[in-house]
């Protein structure tokens, strides 16, 4: 049992050790090869890192609870894009223009509602048809992307609103708006997963769905709530990001699902469900962003980042397998 616990510690703490190693490595390596004369661990640099982590991070946090359920959501990138289109486009609707700055919270509301609705569609299909979430969201990834193109063809949707930009670029206690949203999401979801009935049921369902059903947990609606949650978070991520940038391309958000899943898996959540944590995912998100920045810092091409992250993901999987092995007595199947 002691052995089991130490393995657990490695699993949960691993991502933070990895982040530490990244910090040390890039600080030392940066000393020799840095393309800028700024230190890697510069506070401003680190704060920026948090901000840059936010868009994928917020989605990845939502993906964690989906994956704890034993599901997956491949449509988050498309939800992200459509919510962004709704956000920016709604600001140009005549009645919204007439509202002046009061239109802004309304626009946010429309965008978030879009996300929740799309999530609800996914959740409802998973619940009512019993099709695997992988297939459902794979299909809606295409379908939702179609909706994005329907809106404005292949043209970008733009609407730079300076009030929004000011809001997005504001800093409170040194942290950007986006960072606060990321932190807020972490706190809320940490609370939900560790302290509430819904969160504990999420683990129970992922762990042993049959048992959860027998215990009277309504699995279908539970799934639907979680898909609505990740839809909301994908929209929130879009709101945070596009308030600042003010222009969305119909292809934006592509591959976000893959980045989010990568962060979640790096953070120790099991693909099979029933195991994982919000804090771990935060670690995964930070580790990826640190890697991007660090490789940039030592002058590596951006393309190297893809290569390294891909290989690290596989390495993590390999290590996890080694840790869960029973040793030589294991059945060789």
């Amino acid at each position: 049992m002691a052995m089991h616990n130490s393995k657990d510690m490695i699993k949960q703490g691993g991502i933070w050790v990895f982040i530490l190693a990244e910090l040390v490595f890039f600080s030392i390596a940066g000393h020799y090869w840095s393309v800028s004369n700024q230190a890697f661990m510069d506070p401003g640099n680190m704060l920026l890192l948090l901000k840059q982590s936010a868009p994928i991070g917020i989605i990845a946090l939502g993906m964690t609870i989906i994956m704890i359920n034993g599901n997956i959501d491949l449509s988050v990138g498309a939800i992200f894009a459509l919510s962004a289109v709704v956000l920016l486009d709604s600001l140009s609707w005549p009645f919204m223009v007439a509202l002046g700055d009061w239109a802004l919270p309304l626009a946010w509301g429309f965008a978030l509602l879009t996300g929740v609705t799309l999530g609800a569609i996914n959740g409802l299909i998973v619940w009512k048809t019993g099709i695997d979430a992988f297939i459902v969201t794979l299909a809606s990834m295409l379908g939702f992307r179609g909706l994005v193109f329907m809106y404005n063809g292949e043209q970008p949707t733009s609407n730079l609103n300076w009030t929004l930009v000011d809001f997005a670029e504001a800093q409170v206690l040194g942290l950007h708006t986006a960072s606060w949203f990321l932190i807020g999401t972490v706190v809320v979801l940490w609370f939900v997963t560790t302290r509430t009935n819904h969160g504990r049921n999420a683990y129970a369902i992922g762990n042993n769905r049959e048992a959860a059903v027998n215990a009277g947990i309504r699995v279908g609606p539970h799934f639907m709530w979680n898909f609505m949650l990740i839809g909301f978070l994908a929209a929130l991520s879009a709101v945070v990001f596009y308030s600042e940038s003010g222009s969305v391309n119909p292809n934006d958000g592509m591959l976000y699902e893959l980045w989010a899943i990568t962060a979640v898996v790096l953070g120790g959540t099991k693909l099979a469900g029933g195991y994982g944590s919000i804090i771990g995912t935060l670690g995964g998100v930070i580790a990826i962003q640190l890697l991007r920045k660090g490789l940039g810092h030592i002058g590596a091409d951006t393309q190297t980042v893809n290569l390294v992250i891909g290989l690290i993901l596989i390495a993590v999987l390999f290590l996890d397998r080694q840790l869960t092995r029973k040793g030589k007595e294991e059945l060789k199947i």
């Binding site: 049992m1 089991h4 302290r195 509430t196 009935n197 819904h198 504990r200 049921n201 683990y203 129970a204 762990n207 042993n208 049959e210 048992a211 959860a212 027998n214 215990a215 009277g216 947990i217 029933g274 195991y275 040793g327 030589k328 007595e329 294991e330 059945l331 060789k332 199947i333």
Partner: protein, 503 residues
């Protein structure tokens, strides 16, 4: 006690599925404080009846009474609210969650905003655990507990309400003797509190040890209730199968050949240690012991699925190294595994494809598989083993357990092995096919195969074996010939009561 009103009473319960009358007018009653055994062959309707009682299935006709009030149980929660709780055979626990969360799964005590009231949760759990007298606490992760302790958590779940009736479904299937004692104490404790207990089990010893009455189902029909004190195993078996099953001792003596397989001092970590035995051509060697005694693991090691940590395997006197099933098969060893559905068959494939699977690479003409060669094999073994299937295209998933098992046996016979290992040959198979499989095993030995039979059923081992190896906790305790074995000394050996290795 008998004049008390029953806690639970069933009257004329009927449940039909398309084409099947699974329950056909079942009635029986459960008195407070009694342990009531429910027995019947697989497919007799026990599990359907329990699902009806547990609120999982709705009956087509009939009435359930709880404390003599008519009730309808629409879902498991309704049943539980009425005080009827079910302890599942397959543990239905969430391993990553704590004991407390599992015990109160689906009904965690809450504060505002859906927050879990941890204080109350742990306090309530501690209260329950105290009555169960267990060594773990409410915060322990369930995945860290032994199977027996996990079962205690399951029982704890039943105690979150004030139960009137508790249903145990094969609770001792994976428990050691010491653990059984604890379980029986808990049951006795429930009894003294006036709870009625329905106890489903195949194990006659247990039934006669702890139950007060025995009700028997056959083919979905209620066949009667016996007072345990006034009956015996024969009568119960008769009720269960409608006739006596021929499980007489094996007395056939035919010529045996040389030693086909010999194992010397074989060990695999802590799974089993220092195991030695041999089996001759024309002989059936029985392996008897409790689940977890290491019997299956020995078979898997001989079949190349596990790496031995010490010892030798000799085939026809030659030492061999077996690193994979492929090598084992090449050497003429075949294994009919314990878990037919997960290890024996590819359920989505048809009968023919399953049967020819191990030698498919050889049944080719040019680059392609030869249908003719495949069908020749299939037809031969379908006739030889009397496999009843509409045709070779039939998916094996649609066959009965007995016919499925014959497909697996046929699969290996068609490879002409020298040593055939059969693990739990009749698990989940109806009585009729059981004796067919037994006869088949005897026939194979008579034809000169060396056969090893692993079984948890004593009558089966006694019936088919020429010699019996008794195992306990990973060690060979004793080897018996069919002359010197008695039920008593066999039970002693597999319970670890005799350390004497010599026969």
């Amino acid at each position: 006690m008998n004049d008390l009103q029953p806690v639970l009473r069933l009257e004329g319960i009927v449940k039909t599925f398309p084409g099947v009358r699974a329950l056909d007018g079942v009635s029986f009653d459960l008195r407070p404080g009694e342990v009531h055994a429910l027995m019947g062959e697989n497919g007799a309707g026990k599990s359907t009846l329990m699902k009806v009682l547990g609120g999982v299935l709705a009956p087509n006709a009939g009435q359930i009474y709880v404390a003599e009030k008519p009730v309808s149980m629409t879902n498991p929660q309704a049943a539980k609210a009425l005080g009827v709780v079910f302890i599942h055979q397959e543990l239905s626990l969430a391993g990553e969650l704590s004991v407390a969360e599992n015990i109160f799964l689906g009904e965690l005590p809450l504060k505002s905003f859906g927050r879990v009231d941890w204080k109350k949760l742990y306090a309530d759990t501690d209260k329950i655990l105290k009555t169960l007298n267990v060594s773990f606490n409410a915060r322990t992760r369930v995945g860290d507990l032994s199977i027996a302790n996990q079962q205690m958590v399951e029982i704890g779940r039943a105690l979150t309400v004030d139960p009137r009736a508790v249903i145990f479904d094969e609770p001792t299937a994976s428990l050691t003797d010491a653990e059984k004692v604890v379980l029986f104490e808990v049951i006795a404790d429930l009894q003294t509190r006036g709870v009625g207990i329905i106890y489903i089990s195949h194990r006659m010893e247990e039934i006669f040890k702890i139950t007060d009455r025995i009700s028997v189902l056959r083919d979905g029909q209620y066949r009667g209730t016996l007072n345990t004190a006034e009956t015996d195993e024969d009568k119960v078996t008769q009720l269960m199968i409608g006739r006596s099953l021929d499980l007489s001792r094996n007395v056939s003596h035919h010529e045996m050949g040389d030693i086909a397989l010999e194992v010397r001092g074989l060990s695999c970590g802590h799974l089993f240690e220092d195991v030695s035995f041999n089996v001759r051509k024309g002989e059936v060697l029985g392996f008897y012991g409790l689940v977890g005694a290491g019997r299956t693991e020995i078979a898997e090691t001989i079949f190349g699925l596990r790496t031995p940590s010490a010892g030798q395997i000799l085939l026809n006197g030659q030492e061999v190294q077996i690193n994979s099933p492929i090598e084992a098969i090449r050497l003429g060893i075949a294994l009919v595994p314990e878990d037919r559905k997960d290890q024996g068959l590819v359920l989505g494939m048809n009968c023919k494809d399953n049967m020819t699977l191990p030698q498919i690479g050889r049944l080719t003409k040019g680059p392609f598989v030869s249908d003719r060669a495949e069908l020749a094999i299939f037809d031969k073994y379908r006739d030889k083993l009397d496999i009843r299937t509409p045709g070779w295209r039939q998916s094996v998933g649609n066959l009965s357990g007995g016919n499925q098992q014959k497909i697996v046996i046929g699969k290996w016979l068609s490879m002409h092995p020298e040593v055939l290992i059969v693990d739990e040959p009749t698990r989940g198979i109806d009585v009729g096919s059981k004796s067919e499989i037994h006869n088949l095993i005897r026939d194979l030995a008579a034809q000169g195969f060396a056969v090893i039979v692993i079984s948890s059923e004593m009558p089966e081992v006694l019936h088919v074996s020429d010699r019996i190896v008794a195992m306990f906790a990973g060690r060979v305790m004793r080897e018996f010939t069919s002359e010197d074995v008695t039920e008593d000394n066999l039970i002693q050996a597999i319970s670890g009561l005799t350390g004497d290795k010599a026969a």
